[in-house]
């Protein structure tokens, strides 16, 4: 399948059938993926899903039990971390405390035996890239969390790696700084054009920064897709759930072919959807999903081709949005609806009858 968001189309990292076992525990189970040159690729999943293990295998801190990894066409088997064209930003940043910022950034360059002026120029260039040019003489314990993160970035980027690995780099920062750094990291990646691989458990972070996301559960990749596709067209219930709220509706398979499914549901009627990859018709039932924000409240005389009526049973106010829980007579579980507050959704009384509009395209068939 051609990749919709490839930067140059050239594969930078090929992961083929990688398994990593720790005793009886299988951390990674036959994982395969291709990461392209210049791509911002995220490994997203809950803790313990194997995403950090995979990153450490790419970095060379650990070896796969089975399978192999190639970077830029070179097989990495038996290649230690210090000879790989990758550099890492650690979750703890691992800024050397006995050195100042400049010495930290110059650490890897020392082994290249560049002449003094060239080394200095590259250190300054890297520090300017992360906007820390003025702090070169500071010691590690005189830096804030955000500054440490920038030093870790500069120290890795100064090596001009083919691939930059980021292990939950923003998890130690407060919310505001985290959001600012997401934008900056994304800009930086575009600017330097290096392949970035980000490990995160924060779906918003992955959605905001990545070209493509691999969602992982229990040592396996469940889906690889662009942020938009992975959010709007998840292939499994688990992926859908991990990336945000989703209403699940059980349906009957009325018709099927290789690329599409026609599903009949109570409430939403008959819907034709894309057939998710690997979907097996099993007993003729399927699950349909629709995101809460894709259900729209219809006011007074508003009409829509696709309507569904119900009763508001609960309401939660979140500032810019309101979360409504709507009971539909034909459905076993109430629907959750997210509506922005510009039309007064926050004033809809609990217990009132409302009508909801939906776009049939927003309904996706899911694998269980």
């Amino acid at each position: 399948m051609p990749d919709p968001n490839a930067q140059t189309g050239k594969a930078m990292i090929e992961i083929s059938g990688v398994t990593r076992k720790f005793g009886a525990f299988t951390a990674l189970d036959r994982v395969s993926a291709t990461i392209n040159e210049g791509e911002f690729f995220s490994l997203l999943g809950p803790s313990g899903c194997g995403k950090t293990t995979l990153l450490r295998l790419i970095a060379g801190f650990d070896q796969p039990t089975e399978g192999g990894i190639t970077i830029d066409g070179q097989p990495m088997e038996g290649m230690p971390a210090n000879r790989r064209p990758t550099n890492m930003v650690f979750q703890s940043y691992a800024i050397f405390p006995h050195m100042n910022v400049q010495e930290n950034v110059a650490y890897g360059l020392k082994r290249m035996r560049l002449d003094k002026a060239e080394e200095k120029r590259r250190v300054e260039e890297a520090l300017t890239q992360v906007e820390l040019g003025h702090l070169g003489k500071r010691r590690a314990n005189e830096l804030s969390g955000g500054q440490r993160q920038r030093v870790a970035l500069a120290r890795a980027l100064v090596m001009r790696p083919k691939v930059l690995l980021l292990d939950e780099p923003l998890s130690a920062l407060d919310k505001k700084l985290r959001e600012q750094m997401q934008v900056e990291l994304r800009h930086l990646q575009k600017q330097v054009g290096i392949t970035f691989i980000l490990v995160t458990h924060d779906q918003y972070e992955a959605l905001a920064m990545s070209d493509r996301i691999a969602v992982m559960f229990d040592g396996q990749i469940a889906q690889v897709a662009t942020p938009k596709d992975i959010y709007q067209r998840p292939v499994t219930r688990q992926v859908a759930d991990f990336l945000g709220g989703m209403n699940f509706v059980s349906a009957e398979v009325a018709a099927e072919n290789g690329t599409s499914l026609t599903l009949k549901t109570r409430g939403f009627g008959q819907v034709k959807t894309e057939r998710p990859e690997g979907f097996v018709v099993n007993g003729g039932t399927a699950t349909l999903g629709i995101r809460p924000e894709r259900l729209r409240v219809l006011w007074d005389d508003d009409r829509s081709e696709n309507e569904i009526a119900g009763r508001v049973v609960d309401r939660h106010y979140f500032g810019e949005i309101t979360h409504l829980i709507v009971e539909i007579p034909d459905l076993e579980t109430p629907l959750s609806v997210i509506e922005t507050n510009d039309f007064g959704a926050d004033d809809i009384p609990v217990g009132s009858q409302i009508r909801l509009a939906f776009d049939p395209d927003a309904l996706v068939a899911l694998r269980d």
Binding site: A59, M88, A94, Y107, N141, A156
Partner: protein, 272 residues
């Protein structure tokens, strides 16, 4: 009620306890500057003559030299072995780790006289002559538990990602140890060196059995105690050793604390 009672009582108890422990030690410097050769109150007058008498004493100076050699060598060997052991204990999981740690720490609780006699028997069986070398071997055994205690707490606070970061930036294993591990562990290493040296400095039992014809200072002092007339000079020597030990331990602790502040690591120490 209870509170009022303990408030008056506990500090008094603490002061008495400390006085009982440390007053005898305080007598040492006091009598060492007394002009009378007999250590009784009232004091006769101030005099530095006992200190002066030490400088001309070749046997004493030789013992002092022996002590320095043994102390330095034992501290170095115990610390080098300690670094290896502490790293193995904190970083790796291996079978026999617990028994091994137990065996290393055993000299802390074994009676020193047993250690000394067993070592003596073994060395004699192997036909090795007694010398400063044999004392060093014994002292390394005794210093190692202290050295490892200091170093393990240093290595425990050492995040493995520092070494991974170094490898990631292209450094070899050896280069990583030289540029990252050792500098970051320096406070714990210096602490271990000074603590080991101090322990070797005043160790008597092992030195007594294993030193042969090369006495260390504690052996020399013990020998002098048989002669009442030599007592004031011994008091003077004892005072110098007391002050020396205190200075060394204070420096070790100050260095450790300053370095721990500077490097954000908890380097660990016996007196933390």
């Amino acid at each position: 009620m209870m509170k009022a009672l303990t408030r008056g009582w506990l500090p008094g108890y603490a002061i008495l306890y400390i006085a009982f422990l440390y007053l005898p030690v305080m007598l040492l410097p006091i009598f060492s500057v007394n002009s009378s050769p007999i250590p009784v109150f009232p004091l006769k007058g101030f005099s530095m003559k006992w200190y002066e008498s030490l400088w001309g004493n070749d046997i004493m100076l030789n013992a002092a030299r022996n002590t320095l050699v043994v102390g330095t060598a034992s501290a170095l060997v115990a610390t080098i072995l300690g670094i290896c052991a502490a790293r193995a204990i904190t970083r790796y999981r291996f079978t026999g780790k617990r028994p091994m740690s137990g065996v290393i720490m055993a000299p802390l609780v074994l009676p020193e006289i047993i250690i000394a006699i067993s070592l003596l028997l073994v060395l004699l069986q192997f036909g090795l002559g007694l010398s400063l070398m044999t004392v060093i071997v014994g002292h390394v055994l005794i210093c190692l538990p202290y050295s490892i205690t200091v170093l393990v707490s240093g290595f425990e606070g050492f995040d493995p990602s520092f070494e991974e970061a170094s490898a990631d930036l292209g450094e070899t294993t050896f280069g990583t140890i030289r540029r990252v591990t050792l500098p970051m562990m320096m406070p714990a290493i210096v602490s271990s060196l000074l603590v080991s040296f101090t322990i070797s400095l005043d160790e008597f039992m092992v030195a007594f059995f294993l030193s042969g014809r090369e006495p260390t200072l504690p052996i020399y002092i013990w020998g002098q105690l048989r002669f009442a007339a030599k007592l004031p000079a011994v008091l003077a020597l004892g005072t110098i050793m007391l002050v020396g030990s205190l200075v060394l331990l204070t420096v070790a602790e100050m260095y450790r604390r300053r370095a721990a502040r500077k490097t954000l690591t908890e380097a660990g120490g016996l007196f933390a």
